[in-house]
């Protein structure tokens, strides 16, 4: 089992009290799985992804990632897990505008203490694999949305993560670029990477191995919809 969530709740302070966004989530993902999580806007998808991606810790419940207890881990321990085992793809790419594509892709290697020449070599190779060999020295504002997202995927995959975690990766893209991205995900999954994809688009979810639905902070079975 790559990750196991049990009875996870997440609430945020709101006014004088708390608002509970995620309610008693049970979720497990096996290695090599391709899972889509679907739900309407505001249902808690991003909040769940932040928990899965170890960007945040749950309010209650237990979460094990690769057998490691996440609920009680320190900030630096979480940073190390994110760096070595999780690749993120965001809806709005999240590339650093002052850096070239190459430097953006190489960034996670810097935090893994890889030396400079190797960082650049590996980043270049990753970009070439994404079909961006000619764009390594471009900055994000010189690239199209689809190209930016492919740079982001190259960055997500640079440390050979166990889990590729994508939050509405095609949300800002036209259909053609979106389809290209979905092809890439399928390829990466076929090569062994576990993929968890968050979306509200049924066409995107249909490409995944299987789909879980989230509604109002609860995971529900499809037939409950």
């Amino acid at each position: 089992m790559l990750l196991e969530m049990h009875d996870i709740c997440k609430s945020f302070p709101l006014g004088d009290g708390y608002i509970e966004i995620l309610k008693h989530i049970d979720l497990s993902v096996e290695e090599g799985e391709y899972l889509a999580i679907m739900g309407p806007s505001g249902s808690g998808k991003t909040t769940l992804m932040n928990l899965i991606g170890c960007l945040d810790v749950p309010t209650s419940g237990s979460y094990y990632f690769c057998g490691q207890d996440i609920a009680g881990a320190s900030d630096d321990a979480l940073a190390d897990i994110r760096n070595s085992s999780i690749g993120f793809v965001f809806q709005n790419y999240q590339l650093l505008p002052t850096m070239t594509a190459l430097d953006n892709v190489a960034l996670p290697l810097l935090y893994a203490d890889v030396d400079r020449t190797e960082r650049r070599e590996r980043a270049r190779a990753a970009l070439e694999r994404m079909g961006l060999g000619e764009r390594v020295e471009h900055r994000p504002n010189q690239l199209s949305g689809g190209q930016c997202q492919r740079v982001a995927i190259a960055r997500a995959m640079i440390n050979k993560p166990k889990l590729l975690l994508a939050d509405e990766p095609t949300g800002a893209l036209d259909t053609a670029s979106g389809a290209q991205i979905m092809d890439l995900f399928e390829e990466l999954n076929a090569a062994g990477t576990t993929v968890v994809l968050i979306t509200h688009d049924p066409n995107v979810a249909a490409r995944a191995g299987h789909t879980r639905h989230i509604l109002d902070g609860r995971l529900v079975e499809e037939d409950a919809l």
Binding site: G53, D76, A79, F88, F90, Q94, L107, Y111, A112
Partner: protein, 417 residues
């Protein structure tokens, strides 16, 4: 580290105007400190050079009443103090580290020296045969005092360059007559200090006298002194030590010996004391240092304000770059990495300010020295300390913003936009 540095310089370059404005406080603070320190060093080195002089290592020992030099211009020769004899002079010259000993009488601000219409009020010295060597004078032309001059109390005199200018303008003075206190003296030679054109300054008051009078000295044989003034005036003793470090010691021993042998009676208020030039130099330096150290405090306030400016701009930077910090943390940057990144940026900012400050401080010091004619000495040490200090300011004032950045929550940071 290298990444941090290059990113820091890049950021600095991308926001040139903002960076310079932020650095301004640091630049002004460091520049003022460098200017002040250079000026202090310049003046005190000049003072020291003037006082301790051309390396003659001269120490004068003169008669004191209580804590003040006994002034023979206004006071009679004191009771119970003998004139110094040749025997005593030789005894002094046998002291350790003493190279030569000379006895002389002197009047500063001496009125009543004329050559024709030209008056003169520099110093008048009544010297013995050893004086010119001991005080470090060399004959420029003419001749020095002969044994006969001393023995027969001949009315002859030597002039230094300033006295020649004052009394004869540009004219050749040899053989001419100088009227000293209504007595005619024949000029037999002109002398010049050997290594440096500095007068024989032996006290703080002499120092100021020199700078207000422009100097000038007339020498006469010591044996003629009673013709001009009185019998029984106790001489001042000028000694040279073999090394600058021994000046203080030579002075003290000579003063002890003279006090023991010369003072035979009186009311006990008289003593011989050495005027320690090194100590005098220190005193004058201390004076300029203490006035200037207040200026340094003021400059430090500017550094403090500069530091706060840096802190302020770094806090703004952290807020502006929340998304960047959040992303870096999401990608696995540990807290320390973010902390170091922002500390490096702050330190680079203030260090650049420090470099600019040192450069403008040096330029300013040069300018002041050119305009005011005062000497400056830029010290490498002060520049390095200033640079190190400016870096420390960056680290200290960058700390709060950097801690704030390193504690940012990645999801808070990513949520924006």
């Amino acid at each position: 580290m290298r990444e941090n540095l290059s990113v820091a310089f890049q950021g600095l370059w991308n926001h040139k105007l903002r960076s310079v404005l932020t650095m301004l406080g640091i630049i002004i603070g460091i520049a003022s400190i460098i200017t002040i320190v250079s000026t202090i060093r310049g003046t005190s080195e000049q003072i020291k050079a003037n006082l301790v002089g051309a390396g003659t290592n001269g120490v004068s020992v003169r008669l004191y009443q209580k804590n003040n030099p006994y002034d023979l211009t206004w006071n009679p020769p004191p009771d119970g103090v003998k004139p110094v004899t040749e025997d005593t002079r030789q005894e002094l010259s046998r002291l350790d580290h003493v190279e030569s000993v000379s006895l002389f009488h002197s009047r500063e601000w001496c009125n009543g020296i004329y050559a024709g219409d030209h008056g003169f009020n520099g110093s008048l010295l009544g010297v013995d045969a050893h004086y010119l060597d001991t005080a470090g004078y060399a004959l420029l032309y003419g001749r020095g005092f002969s044994e006969a001059d001393f023995a027969k109390s001949k009315k002859v005199c030597l002039l230094d360059a300033a006295a020649v200018t004052a009394l004869f303008g540009g004219d050749f003075p040899l053989g001419c007559t100088v009227e000293i206190l209504e007595q005619p003296f024949t000029v037999i030679g002109v002398v010049n200090p050997v290594s440096k054109t500095e007068p024989d300054i032996s006290s703080l008051s002499d120092y100021y006298t020199y700078y207000s009078s422009g100097g000038g000295t007339v020498f006469v044989p010591g044996s003629t002194w009673p013709i001009l003034y009185r019998f029984d005036e106790p001489e001042t003793v000028l000694l040279t030590a073999d090394h600058t470090d021994n000046m203080t010691r030579v002075g003290q021993e000579a003063a002890q010996l003279l006090t023991a042998t010369q003072i035979t009676g009186g009311d006990g208020s008289f003593s011989y004391r050495a005027i320690d030039l090194m100590e005098q130099a220190e005193q004058i330096q201390q004076l300029s240092r203490s006035t200037n150290s207040q200026l340094i405090w003021i400059a430090s306030i500017s550094l403090l304000v500069g530091g706060i400016g840096v802190m302020n701009i770094m806090l703004v930077t952290v807020t502006e770059r929340t998304a960047e910090i959040g992303l870096k943390k999401a990608l696995g940057a540990r807290k320390k990495r973010i902390l170091y990144q922002f500390l490096t940026e702050a330190a680079v900012l203030t260090s650049c300010g420090g470099v600019l400050g040192v450069v403008s401080g040096v330029v300013m010091a040069r300018l002041i020295s050119a305009v005011m004619g005062t000497p400056t000495a830029v010290s490498m040490g002060a520049a390095l300390i200033a640079l190190a200090f400016s870096t420390v300011i960056g680290v200290v004032f960058g700390l709060i913003p950097a801690v704030k950045a390193s504690n940012l929550n990645p999801i808070e940071a990513l949520k924006r936009d």
